[in-house]
Symmetry: C2
Subunit: 354 residues, 2 copies
């Protein structure tokens, strides 16, 4: 098993294994543990205030001198949304919470916060971060220019061949190809309909189309998945669900327990939680939102609408009302330390019968 | 590359490569070519009259003495369907055809034919067929008993871990695990919602759950896919789209040309063509059916409703109104002979850089 390749060279790492950025799950400790293990940790900062971005980067840097990536939501919030639809959904949610004896504060439409990736760049440049991954879209021409001027290597996220082509042509250095098996948000950003291409189909077609290092994401949980991804032509892999139950994960005990019981068909693709398509565990909150028939606002509005209940559900460890991301293979995740999970993945890939 | 394994032994073949049964596409010549090449050809006979089943088996046997499988739709047609919904869809289709200057005969609801797998068994037993694959469901206890008494090895189709478990426990010898990438009909038969599990996620989870040979289907088009499937734990592979453009394929020139232009996102899952979920190329007929908002009858009623236009579209080679099955990787299919396609797959698996 030869791990060194063009990708490890580009990223300055030992193993071409990238921990998927999972906002709300990934901690600086998880990022550092992966990078210290020889992989690439990814620090998710999508939508966070610049001072928080700076603090999180400092925290990772205090834990490791190894390379890590900062992950951005490259996304422009729509200037305005349908206030009526927003409030109708909010009224419905408040009724639902009341019926379940949950006291959840209302959200003020005019105070929905979202810090753009543009707002975050100064903190990233100031910290000397040279690896930036992004999802939900792509920088504009000025953005690419600025990032390149600061010597940043760019890792974009594609869910179709066409998205990969567009990313590459704009100057993205590395493509994460995200199959439909993956948990959490889809990186989709082109076209009207969501691409739903399986990892087995997506990777070879992206690889055949582009001369660019491709990182496979979606359904990879052990050495079998790593070897399969390499066989399909990927130069690296990006597991996410693999780390959901890690000691360093922010997932609540209830979320981690639900992952432990997960079967291949327990997750669904939905816009109900955040306004963007994402894969998570079916639960009461989602069923009620989808059964309501109400219009779901776009991101970040629906996301903000569900923030208060997510906060409360976290405090109460209430899995009926939490948002619990997971991929189709998440049931295989282990409740180990991040370092142990990483080491086992390497061992299992090198000698499947150890 | 060691091809011999428990599966090749069970099936009496050289390469654990099974040609997917594709009703309306697969010919006896295609079946025989795959079996003559050392793989397992599959003759689809779902819903056909028993005398036609006997004739097709005779035709394959006249072309090869090697083993091949007969593929059944193991499915009980519902005793009655909503006649009003059927006629409303029929009226809509007739209007659509008229607006497109296509003269298509109406279908008589009371004359919708469907030969059950039970009706077909005598022809299969009489011909001495010892390999039967099936999809859409599973035989009842009496059916398993009868098939086993005739010394038949059974290959069932699962789209989720749970379906695989149920098939295995009933006495199925081999499981085809069909990932969401696959073209044509889904084999799903349990639960209210369609499992949409990617091949990368499905195969290891089925393999871990069951001690039974697993054949991977969905997204496999070349040696990369074959090696990936084996790495995931499969003992065999079942490509379908790979053979769509074969010289022996019944696909029309227009369908074959559309396959040649196909990208990863050009297919959709739909019930619109047949009443069962299946993956095919988006075209005018499908868009109109889905946009109509009319109720789609169950299989085989919707299937029968679209038979006359499918027949006419085939005669005219009209791709707007044809039903064109295809998987997410079908764009890689080559317009070669079945034997050449098969040999290339073996070569590409054995030495990727030939």
């Amino acid at each position: 098993m030869e791990w060194k390749n063009e990708l490890t060279q580009l990223l300055g790492i030992t193993y071409p294994i990238v921990q998927a950025p999972m906002l709300g799950i990934t901690t600086p400790a998880m990022v550092a543990a992966v990078s210290e293990s020889g992989g690439l940790g990814s620090l998710p900062v999508g939508g966070l205030p610049p001072e928080r971005v700076a603090a999180l980067i400092r925290e990772v840097k205090s834990l490791t001198a190894a390379p890590f990536a900062v992950n951005l939501f490259v996304y422009e919030p729509a200037p305005s949304y349908d206030r009526k639809a927003f409030e109708e959904m909010q009224d419905f949610l408040q009724f639902l919470y009341g019926a379940n004896r949950l006291a959840v504060p209302r959200v003020n439409f005019d105070e929905v916060p979202f810090y753009s990736w543009r707002d975050q760049l100064p903190a990233i440049f100031a910290a000397g971060v040279k690896l930036v991954s992004f999802t939900f879209g792509m920088p504009d021409e000025a953005g690419y220019k600025l990032l390149k001027e600061h010597g940043v290597t760019l890792i974009g996220t594609a869910t179709s061949v066409n998205e990969a082509v567009v990313l590459k042509e704009a100057g993205t250095d590395i493509i994460v190809a995200q199959g439909i098996e993956a948990g959490g948000h889809r990186g989709s950003f082109l076209g009207d309909s969501l691409p739903q291409v399986g990892t087995m189909s997506l990777i070879p077609q992206v690889v055949d189309r582009l001369r660019v290092p491709v990182i496979a994401a979606g359904g990879i949980m052990d050495g079998r998945g790593v070897r399969a991804a390499f066989n399909l032509g990927a130069m690296g892999i990006q597991p996410g669900s693999l780390f959901l139950r890690a000691h360093e994960s922010l997932a609540t005990p209830g979320h981690k327990a639900a992952i432990g019981r997960l079967t291949d068909t327990d997750t669904v693709l939905t816009r109900g939680f955040t306004g963007r398509w994402a894969r998570g565990i079916k639960n009461k909150l989602l069923q009620e939102i989808e059964a309501s028939g109400l219009q779901i606002s776009g991101y970040p509005y629906q996301n903000e609408l569900t923030q208060p209940i997510r906060k409360l559900a976290r405090e109460l460890d209430n899995t009926d009302f939490a948002v619990m991301w997971a991929g189709q293979s998440a049931g295989k995740a282990r409740a180990w330390s991040t370092a142990d999970i990483f080491a086992e993945l390497v061992r299992d890939t090198e000698s499947p019968n150890h």
